[in-house]
Symmetry: D2
Subunit: 344 residues, 4 copies
Amino acid sequence: MIKVGIVGGTGYTGVELLRLLARHPHVEVEAITSRSESGLGVCELYPNLRGHYDELRFSEPDPQRLGKCDAVFFATPHGVAHALAGELLEQGTRIIDLSADFRIRDAELWAEWYGQPHGAPELLEEAVYGLPEVNRERIRSSRLIAVPGCYPTAVQLGFLPLLEAGLVDPQHLIADCKSGVTGAGRGAKVPSLLAEASESLKAYGASGHRHLPEIRQGLGDAAGDNVGLTFVPHLTPMIRGIHATLYGRLTSEPGDLQKRFEERYANEPFVDVMPPGSHPETRSVKGANMCRLAIHRPGGGDTVIVLSVIDNLVKGASGQAVHNLNLMFGFDETAGLDAPAIMP
Amino acid sequence: MIKVGIVGGTGYTGVELLRLLARHPHVEVEAITSRSESGLGVCELYPNLRGHYDELRFSEPDPQRLGKCDAVFFATPHGVAHALAGELLEQGTRIIDLSADFRIRDAELWAEWYGQPHGAPELLEEAVYGLPEVNRERIRSSRLIAVPGCYPTAVQLGFLPLLEAGLVDPQHLIADCKSGVTGAGRGAKVPSLLAEASESLKAYGASGHRHLPEIRQGLGDAAGDNVGLTFVPHLTPMIRGIHATLYGRLTSEPGDLQKRFEERYANEPFVDVMPPGSHPETRSVKGANMCRLAIHRPGGGDTVIVLSVIDNLVKGASGQAVHNLNLMFGFDETAGLDAPAIMP
Amino acid sequence: MIKVGIVGGTGYTGVELLRLLARHPHVEVEAITSRSESGLGVCELYPNLRGHYDELRFSEPDPQRLGKCDAVFFATPHGVAHALAGELLEQGTRIIDLSADFRIRDAELWAEWYGQPHGAPELLEEAVYGLPEVNRERIRSSRLIAVPGCYPTAVQLGFLPLLEAGLVDPQHLIADCKSGVTGAGRGAKVPSLLAEASESLKAYGASGHRHLPEIRQGLGDAAGDNVGLTFVPHLTPMIRGIHATLYGRLTSEPGDLQKRFEERYANEPFVDVMPPGSHPETRSVKGANMCRLAIHRPGGGDTVIVLSVIDNLVKGASGQAVHNLNLMFGFDETAGLDAPAIMP
Amino acid sequence: MIKVGIVGGTGYTGVELLRLLARHPHVEVEAITSRSESGLGVCELYPNLRGHYDELRFSEPDPQRLGKCDAVFFATPHGVAHALAGELLEQGTRIIDLSADFRIRDAELWAEWYGQPHGAPELLEEAVYGLPEVNRERIRSSRLIAVPGCYPTAVQLGFLPLLEAGLVDPQHLIADCKSGVTGAGRGAKVPSLLAEASESLKAYGASGHRHLPEIRQGLGDAAGDNVGLTFVPHLTPMIRGIHATLYGRLTSEPGDLQKRFEERYANEPFVDVMPPGSHPETRSVKGANMCRLAIHRPGGGDTVIVLSVIDNLVKGASGQAVHNLNLMFGFDETAGLDAPAIMP
């Protein structure tokens, strides 16, 4: 059993970590922090956890105590991991950061999109982007993981096989993404009210969204070049789920696209290439650490469409974080992540 | 007061016609037909109409009786209007067909997509495609209107200003569309159950959907050439609403796109070009005969994004049908269509 | 045309007043106030109103300007109408208060439930409880109307025929009520987020809710005695609608209950007694100023069940407010309130 | 490892059994039957199960093959278990029936409510009503279990402590119950469409529902007498969940009700008595085999309110069925049932 801490545990990725770790055979949650709810029992805030974490209470973030953990998850707004990471690493604690703090390798680019200076540029070099389907080996030995964002996970897994094989024009990629409202977090904001967000659908950030540079970086790595990406996220009236509809223009005859995808992900426990003609539903991954993909090429033309679905809180956040933990500590990759999605 | 009939009144476009016509100052509903529910009071099926249509009952479709109406709406599956239109036109009744029967000018193309021979090719020449923003004058004098489909309405109104001005590459248009479930009609099908469609989102028909040839025809007219269109519809967990996210590639510097759109629709009562930077929500048109548009050009690059929202049952069906009626009979265009959307 | 003002117009009852008044033939909205949004165009906050109120902006509440209106609606939290009512009445402006300020006749009881002293006890005597089905004549001549709460409207209309006729034991009434989330207002609170309130249902205030004394007062008037009422409200995952399930114990053989209800409400334009055996759906009144009722007596036993549905924002708030306005100014009772519910 | 079969596996209780059994350490699913989908892979119908049951296909119900299983679940409409149970029992297969076939001990009463003669009255004597909180010991040794209905589970667990202690008037019990739509099954019916059931709420069966005699039987056992129960179920716009709001009239001073409930369920792994003042949300048990209860006594009066929530597909069906299996085969009671609810 290893001991883990969770910094910033009151949000949706925090409670989702607790849900997944409740069944993890090798992990014990030692501490969970929250400045605003310090002292409160986690089950008072999340009664679904009654019977699982009856003794666990939110505490003030204490680097000493966290430093006694084998690993610490950050489920915090950006900037927090910057401030604490160095101190924890010095104590030998490994870090799995679900925030955006270490996702972008270029500190200036980060500062531009997040509107504040990067707080720990000295750690960027050793930070590993925690997309296991790309960086599995580097993750195993890393001390500091930047867990990918939800949109970036869905978009990259869909585009990677095309870009790695040089099949599509990297200058004209389109990612039309639809997300459930938990993507906006647990903050009390009017647009996230049921009365506002239910029975409606809207785009947002059509002219620029913070996940854009992260996706560009990942796709650029795969393409071996800068990419041109149009990314439009949409808010949809559901709790969980991301559906990325990806459009690429084929530059030559691609051969059997289905087979290419199946081979790319043949050994991946958390990527499922659906049969030809499929239209994956977001509910087919609800609560599960899984990305399901389907490939379409209408009329045999020059446009390829990839449909990619994940649960934004699992494969798009907390589940992927646990997957990284499993790799870092040599556990079975699926430990704690083996439950099927809940449907209906 | 004119007298109108509704053929096939038990579906969602039928009840929506009744809702809108309940407040129309110049229209009286003379007959509403349904083979399956003949004899039933409309308010027994639709209690929201109690107090408005207490005497109206569904009746067998009787061409004699319908022929006494000034106008007849078809709110039927495809094929029905084919069978009845000729006989009604002979009796001097004007037809407003909400089905797909007369939307596509090419009878063979129609037959290909609908899997059966076209039933009234002799009427195609005089049928007018009832998109008032394009065909207003022809609609006024027409006897036979093909009301556009829901997706085609949202997509065409968004792309028209760009194509008419030749600003985008007509060979590489993308329409990523999201619809509420009423788009699938009132049929009892498992995938439309709340337990199946709620809390989920999926694409469908990614390799080809019946609205594709209709949209291509309309966009081709605007472009003066064949167009290449990738169209992916999605089913979303809400009752009403379509959100079309449209992507075009600019072929040259387009000037002030916002102004172009505003000028194109300056005199249109049912198209609203939102201020720059807007992201229209589908709920902003719920229950109203309105299309709201917003234009984005991320980073000043070569991709233009148009966001287009309608209520699929109103501007995408019954409201647009009433608009056509108003034009045909010389009523105020907004008669019966002047209520704001309901929000929240 | 009369001129009206709306104090506190950013909430849901405010925008609903605007939606209804947009089609009212005799009313012009002169001013709408909001301290927090002063200067903002109402259509910027509520784009569904674009085209209807393009010139109207939220303004600071100015008693001088409001005093020039024929009537002023208060769509405010409790306490605001207390502070302004006297000054407006002095200027000859009639007041229709949608808040709780004047609903309870006993100032001390009010203070007990609202946790602050009553701010205008001197006005209580002339305030009229604006339930037209009970107080129609007094409303016509009133200067100050307390519009009933949403739960109180649904519960009273269901119990009144039983209590007025002395058919049920007034000491053991049960009202199990289910409400959509707009009942909680537009405030940004975590429990009202879609991610929290969707796909779930809970009771709240089971040990006491502010609407309890208001309901007790109204039912007591009908019964001619104090009543014993157990009232449990529930939060349900929908935007609009209240479903009150009412249980009474018959004290003697009641005769034809259906007929009693039909007779009681025979001349009421906004109460609809459904046929025997009905189960009214909240959606059958969505957007409409209507209460639909059904009466059940399982097994011919001593328990009578009344099912009562309203739209909490219309018959439970803004629609009933307009109904009061119509009575006060001698307009047709249904002016602005004649649209059918929207369904589906 | 034991081998189990599932008869009628295409419905919601069938797929839920598969989801729960996917993680059961001692169970292997040997066969799953469906007349309509014979030959289809279960993962084609339920893609959430991909990776878990890739080889499992629906087959025709074959008593020989089912007879080789240690236990068979019936997830069928009523009547099916009647027809097959005898033959399976003879082969030594134990039966866990999720349908209503063996819930009511009186064959004539069953016939009255289900409109057909009871098909296996000779088995009624040995059938055990599978509510572990009442019949744990009898379940262990039983060959034939009638798993309680969803409403009956929520209502009985809430009323039992009151009735067993004789604290409330057994003649005037009220159960106002709210259910998600999966309670109506996976049948393609218009009222269950998202477009019909979403954004609305209604009562149904107010004059009599099939779960009524089952609940009366269970409560009568607890009270030691016939009970008078008014039971009104409601359809609510969510997928899963039942919220039972229970009203009883105290006949004498009851002492510490909270403590009574806590003691009654002190050793029950799947009943959670919440702290005083709680209002359990249905989502707090989503996907979990748990019933959460809260007790209220407004104003210290003579009415006691119990709030009882379950997931209708888990503690109200498949989870309770697995709990019975665990008891019958001597497994840990929580085997396969230890995952926390998913929230949000």
